[in-house]
């Protein structure tokens, strides 16, 4: 019951927040110089033609009216149309958002696989070589520009060694894309038994996922290490040792107590990466949602930007909600 109330509270808070986000993005994007009508018609267009198109797009109306029209459409689930793709933004995002999610999800998983063990190890090792490695890695990973690391990885693993597929999109051009079910190529190809597509999409995921994983393992490592150091020195850990519990058990319990913080940083990173992985998307021509939004900003294509912002805000909120539910499961103190 508490859970339901909690979620309801969250959702009630959601709507004003989304309106706030949409308002900010709307004003911001509208402030970007550049007129979609001019762009759509090209340099040949006469001023009269442009004016007609502007009227047709509703661009001649005052800003507040334009905003209200947008919100009204939004309320009906209409995110508008992108003039660049000439398709409804919702349709575009249905394809592109999963592309970003797939990339980011595997990237986060890899970051977890690297970051948590190293973080635990360096919290335990204290002054040992592993701790040194962990400390070094944690800082270096945070210092690398991800797009630059991606370039280096491409140069080494694709150009020099030729071990991975060309860093182009999510799947080989010659391979038919799997029928869309979840939007994750890896999952969809497995579900449809399309082995060729599966192999190809995995190959294409390797480098971008490696980049995201290597870079984002840093903060996870640091958070794991810091929290583990704290929980290992917490009274209950000391008491556990006083009670003669085996070190392994003490560590396991300390880790469990460190989990909420680790989950927090993971959720924050996850939400951040939806928009933050855009540089990686660009480097690998990923065709994801972040790339779509950045192009929108640079091309006065308002609707994709707004659509993306709404999608990612919703996504972040869903992630935070899930995280809170996990807290609820882990930490009995919140349950009351």
């Amino acid at each position: 019951m508490a859970v339901v109330r909690y979620i309801a509270g969250r959702l009630a808070f959601l709507i004003p927040q989304i309106i706030g986000i949409v308002l900010v993005s709307f004003l911001l994007i509208k402030a970007v110089p550049g007129d979609p009508a001019t762009l759509m018609l090209g340099p040949m267009a006469t001023p009269q033609t442009i004016a007609e198109l502007r009227a047709q797009l509703g661009l001649d109306k005052p800003l507040p009216v334009q905003f209200l029209i947008y919100v009204d459409k939004l309320a009906h689930g209409n995110l508008g149309t992108s003039w660049q793709t000439t398709r409804p933004v919702l349709d575009d995002l249905r394809v592109r958002f999963p592309a970003t999610l797939e990339l980011v999800t595997y990237g986060m998983l890899l970051a977890l696989v690297i970051g948590i063990p190293l973080g635990v190890a360096s919290a335990l090792g204290k002054r040992g070589p592993l701790a040194k490695l962990g400390g070094f890695y944690g800082l270096v990973a945070g210092a690398l520009p991800d797009f630059w690391l991606a370039l280096i990885l491409i140069y080494i693993f694709y150009s020099l060694l030729g071990w991975v597929a060309s860093p182009i999109g999510r799947i080989d051009v010659t391979v038919t894309t799997p029928h869309m079910i979840t939007g994750f190529y890896t999952v969809d190809s497995l579900l449809t038994g399309n082995w060729e597509a599966f192999r190809s999409s995995v190959h294409h995921l390797i480098l971008p996922v490696l980049t995201l994983g290597l870079v984002n393992a840093g903060p996870i490592l640091k958070m794991t290490q810091a929290t583990m150091e704290r929980t290992l020195e917490a009274d209950f850990s000391l008491y556990g040792r006083l009670c003669g519990l085996p070190e392994k058990l003490v560590i396991r319990r300390a880790f469990r107590n460190a989990l909420p913080s680790v989950i927090t940083i993971v959720s924050v990173l996850y939400g951040f990466l939806i928009g933050g992985a855009v540089l990686i998307e660009i480097v690998f021509s990923w065709g994801g949602a972040g790339q779509y939004a950045v192009q929108g900003v640079l091309n006065s294509d308002f609707n994709p930007v707004l659509g993306f912002v709404i999608f990612s805000a919703l996504f972040s909120l869903v992630v935070y909600l899930i995280v809170d539910l996990i807290y609820l499961a882990i930490d009995p103190r919140i349950r009351r």
């Binding site: 970007v32 110089p33 550049g34 007129d35 979609p36 001019t38 762009l39 759509m40 018609l41 090209g42 340099p43 040949m44 267009a45 006469t46 001023p47 009269q48 033609t49 007609e52 660049q84 793709t85 000439t86 398709r87 575009d92 370039l151 491409i154 140069y155 694709y158 150009s159 020099l160 030729g162 060309s166 860093p167 182009i168 999109g169 080989d172 051009v173 010659t174 660009i282 480097v283 690998f284 021509s285 065709g287 790339q291 950045v294 192009q295 900003v297 640079l298 091309n299 006065s300 294509d301």
Partner: protein
């Protein structure tokens, strides 16, 4: 007609590439060679910066669109083809002045079998080919031509320009003279009448189908955005924007089914990616690579490039309404300070020619004798001193973030100008803003890249240098030039026209409204066994030209 396509390139597609600014660092020669096919495939795969945004040319001029229009629709006429002097395997339109041919043009009938222009140049009569079917099975008649031009007059897209240059303002100027005869009636003599029938912008629609698909008096606009209704060699099989377009060759095409019966037009936004796909043999053609990328292809096996002289030009608009470019001497000095040779070598990697005139050098009546601006900093400095800018001046040069060539050009120019005391700030703007800047004409200096589609000096100069043209982005005003251009557009006599436009070019070159830079070549990067590339002044590919060799 200027080349909206090149504009489009910079606008949407290259933006993507340039957002990535050459993102993926794919390095040459690592992809496996093309799978050895046992028999030549009849599928043509093209890696393009962008899929067509819309298939309706009235409202769209994107790169993918013009390639599609060339395949889906046919015109009344075309130029005869000749071998290209620069690329042994390529062909090009014969756009020269031929005093031995009717109307001085080497034309070939397409949807029109016979054509004649009245001696005063005001009436053009066309006898249409019979038995031609559209992709919907409707027979081609004069009604189709009439509907096509009526549509231009009724929609306010790009059509008004095409009708405007011919002085066509009313539907009754296009007359159906029989099932297979149509005539155009112009108030004044017009040398462009036949050339406009070749122009890619004026393809013929299947009016029967279009009328069926018309909703809300939109002249089938909604329908034509995603479908075709024409008499060309291909029809649309699939169009997924942002991914690919697939065209199928028509078996009932009146000139016979094209050799390439399936064309897959893939969107691959980054040029590096297109390059690697071509090298790997995954595609037959990689469109619009960067100069350095073409150079790497010269060494690659199984791949060939054809670099032909084209109608493109890259220049800097020197805004004649803004200080100090309202001063002719300053504009001349700016031209003397342009490091053209270095630019051609480093930025264009030799794949461009020095822009020594204000209309494409390949066009008839081009005059190169007025060129005087070979780089000479001393002369530039002297001109500035004379103009009263002894201490130089400060200005801003805007360039398009979406065009990878413009930034290095700008940097080279900036370095050169610094030597004569001119300090320019480089203003990189996103493509959207860039086009805003260009059309608003409020920037002192801005790059531009364009091409006039119709190979005619009158058409070209009217676009860029007539004070009433809205493509006169440098705000150039010279009443004498205006008068001459207009006069030339009403003159049929070839010798007289040549005189007029030689004078126009002389004035313009002297007054230097542009910073003349380069004529980039049209470069096709293709698999070596792909034959038949033909260059058109509209700078588009026509898939029907291609066939696969051994």
């Amino acid at each position: 007609m200027n080349d909206p396509g090149s504009g489009r390139l910079t606008r949407r597609s290259v933006i993507k590439g340039a957002v990535a600014t050459g993102a993926a660092g794919i390095v040459a020669g690592t992809a496996p060679p093309a799978s050895a096919a046992t028999e030549p495939s009849h599928t043509l795969v093209i890696a393009a910066p962008a899929t067509p945004q819309s298939l309706d040319h009235e409202y769209d001029v994107s790169l993918g669109t013009i390639d599609a229009v060339g395949a889906l629709y046919d015109n009344l006429l075309e130029y005869a083809k000749i071998p290209d002097p620069d690329a042994p395997e390529a062909r090009r339109e014969d756009i020269g002045v031929h005093s031995d041919k009717p109307y001085n043009l080497n034309l070939v009938g397409k949807l029109a079998e016979k054509w004649e222009v009245s001696s005063d140049g005001t009436v053009g009569r066309f006898t249409l080919r019979q038995g031609v079917k559209s992709n919907w099975g409707n027979e081609f008649t004069a009604e189709d031509v009439k509907w096509t031009w009526d549509r231009k007059l009724n929609l306010h897209g790009l059509g008004p320009f095409q009708t405007g240059v011919l002085n066509i303002f009313h539907e009754d100027q296009i007359k159906v003279d029989g099932r297979y005869a149509v005539s155009f009636h112009l108030p004044k003599p017009n040398p462009l009448l036949l050339k406009q029938m070749v122009n890619l912008s004026n393809p013929v629609y299947d009016q029967a189908k279009c009328k069926q698909e018309t909703v809300d008096n939109d002249w089938a606009h909604k329908f034509l955005e995603n479908n075709s209704a024409g008499f060309g060699p291909y029809e649309v099989a699939q169009l997924v924007r942002g991914q690919q377009a697939v065209y199928k060759g028509r078996a009932d095409y009146y000139r016979g089914k094209p050799s390439m019966d399936t064309v897959i037009f893939k969107e691959v936004p980054t040029s590096a990616t297109r390059l690697s796909l071509l090298q790997g043999g995954s595609v037959d053609i990689a469109q619009f690579l960067q100069p350095l990328e073409y150079v790497t292809l010269k060494r690659a096996r199984g791949v060939a490039i054809d670099a032909v002289r084209a109608s493109y030009a890259v220049w800097i608009e020197l805004n004649a309404k803004m200080k100090p470019f309202d001063n002719v001497q300053v504009r001349q000095a700016m031209n003397y300070a342009l490091p053209r040779e270095e630019t051609l070598k480093t930025v264009f990697q030799g794949l461009a020619d020095k822009q020594t005139g204000c209309i494409p050098a390949i066009y008839p009546d081009f005059a190169d004798q007025f060129w005087q601006y070979d780089t000479d900093l001393a002369k530039a400095k002297a001109l500035l001193d004379e103009a009263g800018f002894k201490n130089g001046f400060k200005s801003t040069l805007s360039y398009n973030a979406g065009d990878p060539v413009q930034e290095p050009l700008a940097i080279l120019y900036q370095t050169s100008l610094r030597k004569i005391g001119v300090d320019i700030v480089l203003n990189k703007v996103p493509a959207a803003t860039f086009y805003d800047f260009v059309t608003k004409r409020e920037q002192p200096m801005i790059f531009y890249r364009d091409s006039p589609w119709v190979p005619d000096p009158g058409y070209s100069t009217k676009l860029y240098f007539h004070s009433k043209s809205y493509v006169d982005y440098s705000n150039y005003v010279n009443p004498e030039v205006d008068a001459l251009i207009t006069a030339g557009l009403e003159t049929i006599d070839a010798t007289k026209r040549k005189e007029i436009y030689t004078r126009v070019q002389e004035i313009i070159m002297g007054e230097a409204p542009w910073g003349f830079i380069a004529w980039p070549r049209y470069v096709l990067a293709r698999r070596a066994n792909l034959k038949g590339f033909t260059y058109y002044t509209s700078n588009n590919l026509r898939f029907q030209d291609f066939s696969r060799g051994a």
